[in-house]
Amino acid sequence: MRSERKVHPFVSVNRAVHVSGDASAPSRPVLNTVQLDVSYGGPLVLADLTTSIPVGEVTAIVGANASGKSTLLRALARLLKPAGGVVCLDGADIHRQSTRSVAVQLGLLPQSPRAPEGVTVGDLVRRGRYPHQRLFDPWSKADERAVARALELTGLSALVGRPLDELSGGQRQRAWIAMALAQDTAVMLLDEPTTFLDIAHQVEMLDLLVRLNRSENRTIVMVLHDLNQACRYASHLIAVAEGRVEAVGHPSEVVTTELIERVFGLRVSVITCPVSGTPLCVPHTHCDQP
């Protein structure tokens, strides 16, 4: 069965994904996985996972701890080599493409990126231009424009010369986003971009990402811990449980009491958010019973 899948898996299956994707939405998936298996040397963390990321939308990957949601994002970012199946970028195996040509199409913000001591905001953001530069290329006008734009979009233009360690958590996270923006990729992957931020900064961060999605038409894919934020901000939800996709689609269509029970093992009531009209999950707890 295994060997059967290995024969040009993405050529045949990718087309099938296209067709079914086209039926519901006109967008063409640029990033998709086909029968993806991933392990960290032990049992499979992702098993036989086929999904695609809709172009120009905000996709949230949700799931319980250790469900494989971060692993899926890391596999999409080619940080993990699949044990089976493929991750495809524009229809071709991402691991068969030069990592630099992938880097001009696909950006990533890891969960806790590491900043060199004393680095300034401007210095960090400029490093995002790396995949666009060749060995002896000088710093170009296009590089300068991309950096200026990234700083402007994240509201950091005034802080360009400030060391990162002097900024607040929210500003620091925006600086990292600016670095990923300077990379100027059509797809941005973010691993829990709101961790370590307070609620106000979480909202600010997600607003920023949605704004980037709308004004720049960038495809955003993020792992989110907070289910309600995922429902609120994402137009496409991928719910992962035990290394499999439990449900995909628009939050209003897929988020139900049963799904949350299956994915998180938690009983919730799904109501409509009074502000946004998106689904809002209210957990039932043992303390609720009188």
Binding site: T99, A103, P110, P113, P116, D123, R127, Y130, L135
Partner: protein
């Protein structure tokens, strides 16, 4: 002119000043004007031997060795983004010294010595990096493994010094504490050759190091081919450290201390910071050697003892800051 360029210019002037001092002071003091004239345009004459056979090569070797060591330290520290990962601390210098002593002990041609030292440094480095690899590098683990390898290789050197006939290994004593007192134009030539090849390589690696120091995941996301660039940085760093060990023996703490000073003056690594590091390395080694020669004159200390005396307190300072961070 930006800040880094100004600092570089200042360091270069300071080096020039120290070099002139290095030519003039000693058991036979020579006036600065005479010393410079004898070294540059008026060769021969009364002080020819003192200046052109003893002091001038020594000054040049100190400058070149300082450049090599500091640049090597900057490469390793940036690669792992940890100020303790420097070739003298993690046992790469000792690897080079072990191979150099072995080269003497088994009686191979001394012209092979720099190559043996390079092979020793590279072997030690690969061993340390392989043993501390757990799906990624951690600075702390690397330093601990390195200290272990360092101790092991020191024992091997001691064993060889005891085991092999004294007439063969007596010259090997210099690989226990580095000294510039036997510096010759040959040493200077070897180091200059290595620098001509490896300094441009190091300059090319700066842009990649700036990406690699953001961590493995970010580096891959930015299109970095990690494995081959890591190998390139390690090989270059080993070459720079090994040539110094081959010529003058292990001089501790230059590679550890100088890059940190340069970073705190001029910020994270750039081409300018690499130049500044190289110049500060030359400055530190020149001044350490002058102190070694003159502090207890006529008794002369090995320069390695002075660099250790300068670097030891600094290492304690770094460790203290580390502890507070943990």
């Amino acid at each position: 002119m930006n800040r880094t360029a100004r600092l570089c210019a200042t360091a270069a002037i300071a080096i020039l000043g120290l070099a002139i001092v290095g030519l003039t002071v000693g058991d036979y003091p020579v006036a600065a004007r005479t010393a410079i004239a004898t070294a540059i345009w008026d060769r021969g004459g009364e002080f020819d031997f003192v200046i052109n056979s003893l002091r001038f090569p020594r000054v040049v070797v100190a400058v070149l060795a300082g450049i090599c060591l500091a640049a090597s330290g900057l490469l390793f520290q940036t690669l792992i983004d940890n100020p303790l990962v420097s070739p003298d601390i993690i046992g790469i210098d000792t690897g080079a010294a072990t191979a150099a002593v072995a080269n003497l002990a088994i009686g191979l041609d001394v012209r092979l010595l720099p190559f043996a030292a390079f092979a020793g440094a590279l072997t030690a480095a690969l061993l340390i990096f392989a043993l501390s690899w757990r799906g990624g590098f951690s600075g702390g683990r690397l330093v601990l493994v390195g200290i272990g390898i360092n101790a092991l290789l020191s024992a091997v050197i001691t064993y060889m010094l005891v085991r092999f006939p004294v007439e063969r290994v007596s010259a090997a004593a210099r690989w226990q504490a580095g000294t510039l007192s036997a510096s010759s134009w040959d040493d200077a030539r070897t180091m200059a050759l290595v620098l001509v090849v490896l300094l441009p390589v190091a300059l090319l690696l700066v842009r990649r190091l700036r990406i690699m120091q953001l961590g493995g995941e970010t580096a891959v996301a930015l299109g970095m081919r990690l494995e081959r660039n890591r190998v390139a940085v390690i090989t270059t760093g080993c070459g720079l450290a090994a040539v110094v060990v081959a010529a003058v023996g292990p001089l501790g703490f230059v590679a550890l201390l100088v890059p940190h000073v340069a970073r705190s003056l001029a910020g994270p690594i750039t081409v300018g910071v690499l130049f500044l590091t190289a110049l500060l390395g030359a400055f530190m080694l020149l001044s350490a050697d002058l102190v070694a020669q003159r502090l207890f004159a006529p008794t002369v200390l090995p320069a390695g003892v002075v660099t250790a005396a300068m670097g030891g307190p600094y290492l304690l300072l770094v460790l203290r800051r580390f502890n507070r961070a943990v």
